[in-house]
């Protein structure tokens, strides 16, 4: 299975970040989440970034991009760096349902067959 992001459904509410962090650390904050909203606010350009086992998924509005480890992410400023240090997404294997999917109010996130 893998986590799919239908980027245009995203409204940038960020609750998925807090839900993922809750899965990892059992507290409420976005600090330890495997996914993070990237946003250039004044251009209204936004989408989720997911730290995965082997790479980084950038769910850009114009389409997904997979960035191999160690490669520079184009257009992502210093603010997006913390995602690289985070624990990778473990697909919530020990939970009944992935926390981010469960929390997302728009159906932007889902689990699909890989």
């Amino acid at each position: 299975m893998e986590l799919a992001v239908e980027s245009l459904k995203c409204i940038g509410c960020r609750v998925c970040e807090y839900a993922c962090n809750y899965h990892h650390d059992m507290d409420c904050s976005p600090n330890g989440a495997s996914l993070m909203l990237h946003r250039t606010e004044k251009r209204n350009y936004f989408g989720m970034m997911v730290k995965r086992e082997k790479d980084l998924l950038l769910a850009r509005p114009e389409g997904p991009e997979v960035v191999p480890p160690g490669e520079q992410v184009e257009g992502a400023g210093a603010s997006s760096k913390p995602i690289l240090m985070r624990a990778p997404c473990d697909l919530c294997e020990d939970e009944d349902e992935p926390f981010c999917v469960k929390a997302c109010p728009t159906g932007c996130l889902s689990m699909v067959e890989s």
Binding site: R14, N31, K102
Partner: protein, 502 residues
């Protein structure tokens, strides 16, 4: 009670005369006595009243898994109306305030040179603001985010209007407008406080079962009819704004954006200098603007295609769009280029709307229904922002179990605003979702901090006390412009007040 599930436990007292920042503990006793949000703001306001304080606070549930828990509240005396008001904060502002380590911030006195407050990771710093003083809201936001090395820094700030003593200056939330219709931008400017910048890596603990209970509540809300749509334009349609008037805006809609943890994206981005269908990142730095305030948009609809550019300038100057709209209309300025120039000039003027012949405008809503007795009652009480619609959204009054009695309707609205300001629930969400009952809100609050005594009844008692005490702080409260004074209003206001006493 597990206060660490809701609050960081810190109050900051920033003394602008002394240039000092001191911390106080937010104790469990305070939360037990006042619950949170606007009630604690008011207690802190009263405690420091001789220093003319401005208080910024977060609700009990702000920044938690509770649905639409994006809100915070600013409390202070309006330099324009002289009344104490509670202005809701939304977007990511109040969430970042709490996670910076401070649940409440009390600003005392005034500085003799421009200052800014920087709150991050449980540290507070009053710094020189010489470099941003004189800059517009967007330049200030960019500059401070760059300086602090982080695009996710959130800000409460002012533009040139607030600095120069303009009475229709509005506080901004980051680059965007707020729900301040009380001239609190001038209140900050008069203290030479340019901005509060916030960023934090704090975290809250979570009660067992709270996460799932919040998700269930969220799912319940989303069944409501309002949630079939998204965006600010749909809110305006629900309020009865003429579809033809909205057409020029609709053509520029880019994407809708939610405030923290809101299932309804109540903000809508308009593209001005790019095609609205653009998916790639624009090469332009400032191609459009985010609409965050339905009241401001209504007030400016007469500008038609010109609305976005004019509103962008209003946001940059840190002005109240409701007041600007009323004034531009009165002056007959309807052409976009001319209106932009007039807005730039307004930021440097004192602006007295009454002298300018604009009627009923301070703190008065532009809503289509603002003539109704319940709306006039709400505006006469004038403790919460009228930039929030004055009626239930979505299905209107038919959707909520309140009859036709204007006193009951006004009380329903005041209760919703007060409770959301205590708990930190977005006021728009509170009006959109009759399914989100006060009882449900109380249950989530009780669950969050494991506090059985937080019942709907306890919450309502605090809510009414909040309205009554804020209202009682100024004799002018309850007075209305002569053009809409009437015998039925006086009688109804008396009945409304009696309700709080009981």
């Amino acid at each position: 009670m597990d206060i660490e599930n809701a609050y960081m436990g810190r109050i900051l007292v920033a003394d602008l005369n002394e240039g000092t920042c001191e911390e106080e503990e937010l104790t469990e006793e305070m939360v037990k006595e006042h619950i949170g949000g606007a009630v604690i703001n008011l207690a802190l306001y009263k405690q420091h009243v001789d220093r003319n304080p401005i208080v910024f606070g977060t609700g009990l549930l702000t920044g938690t898994f509770a649905p639409s828990s994006c809100a915070g509240v600013m409390t202070g005396k309006s330099p324009v109306t002289g009344r104490v008001c509670h202005v809701p904060l939304s977007w990511q502002t109040a969430v970042e305030l709490k996670y910076s380590g401070y649940d409440f911030v009390v600003v005392l006195g005034e500085s003799d040179k421009p200052v800014r407050l920087w709150l991050h990771d449980e540290l507070a710093e009053l710094a020189d603001a010489g470099e941003v003083w004189g800059r517009d809201v967007w330049q200030t936001t960019d500059k401070l985010r760059y300086e602090h090395g982080d695009d996710y820094v959130q800000l409460i700030g002012i533009g040139p209007a607030g600095e120069k003593g303009c009475r229709i200056a509005q506080i901004s939330e980051g680059a965007w407008g707020s729900r301040d219709v009380f001239g609190m931008g001038l209140a900050m400017g008069a203290r030479k406080l340019k901005a509060i910048a916030m960023r934090g890596l704090g975290s809250l603990e979570v009660a067992d079962g709270f996460f799932d209970e919040c998700l269930e509540a969220q799912q319940e809300l989303r069944k409501g009819a309002s949630f079939e749509k998204q965006g600010l334009v749909a809110l305006l349609e629900a309020l009865g704004v003429d579809a033809a008037d909205l057409e020029p805006i609709k053509q520029k809609v880019h994407r809708h954006v939610a405030s923290f943890n809101c299932a309804y994206a109540a903000n809508t981005f308009l593209m001005i200098d790019e095609p609205p269908g653009l998916l790639k990142e624009s090469k332009k730095d400032e191609p459009g603007l985010l609409l965050t305030d339905p009241a401001g948009v209504i007030s400016l609809l007469f500008l038609k295609e010109g609305l976005p550019v004019v509103l962008r300038e209003i946001n940059r100057q840190g002005l109240d769009p409701v007041a600007c709209g009323a004034l531009l209309k009165k002056e007959g300025v309807a052409e976009a280029g001319e209106a932009v120039k007039r807005v730039q000039a307004l930021a440097g003027e004192e602006v007295d709307l009454e002298d300018a012949g604009v009627e009923n405008v301070y703190g008065i809503a532009p809503w289509p229904l603002s003539e109704a007795l319940e709306a006039r009652l709400i505006q006469a009480v004038s403790v919460f922002s009228h930039a929030v619609p004055l009626s239930p959204l979505g299905g209107g009054w038919a959707d909520v179990s309140v009859g036709e009695n204007p006193v009951e309707r006004a009380q329903w609205w005041l209760d919703r605003m007060a409770v959301s300001s205590i708990l930190g629930i977005c006021p728009i969400a509170a009006l959109l979702s009759p399914e989100f009952t006060l009882q449900k809100m109380a249950e989530l609050g009780a669950k969050a901090v494991d506090w059985d005594e937080l019942t709907e009844e306890a919450l309502l008692k605090q809510a009414r006390k909040l309205v009554q005490e804020t209202h009682a702080l100024d004799e002018a409260n309850g007075t209305v412009p002569s053009s809409w004074a009437s015998a039925d209003l006086d009688g109804a206001l008396e009945k409304l007040r009696q309700g709080w006493e009981g």
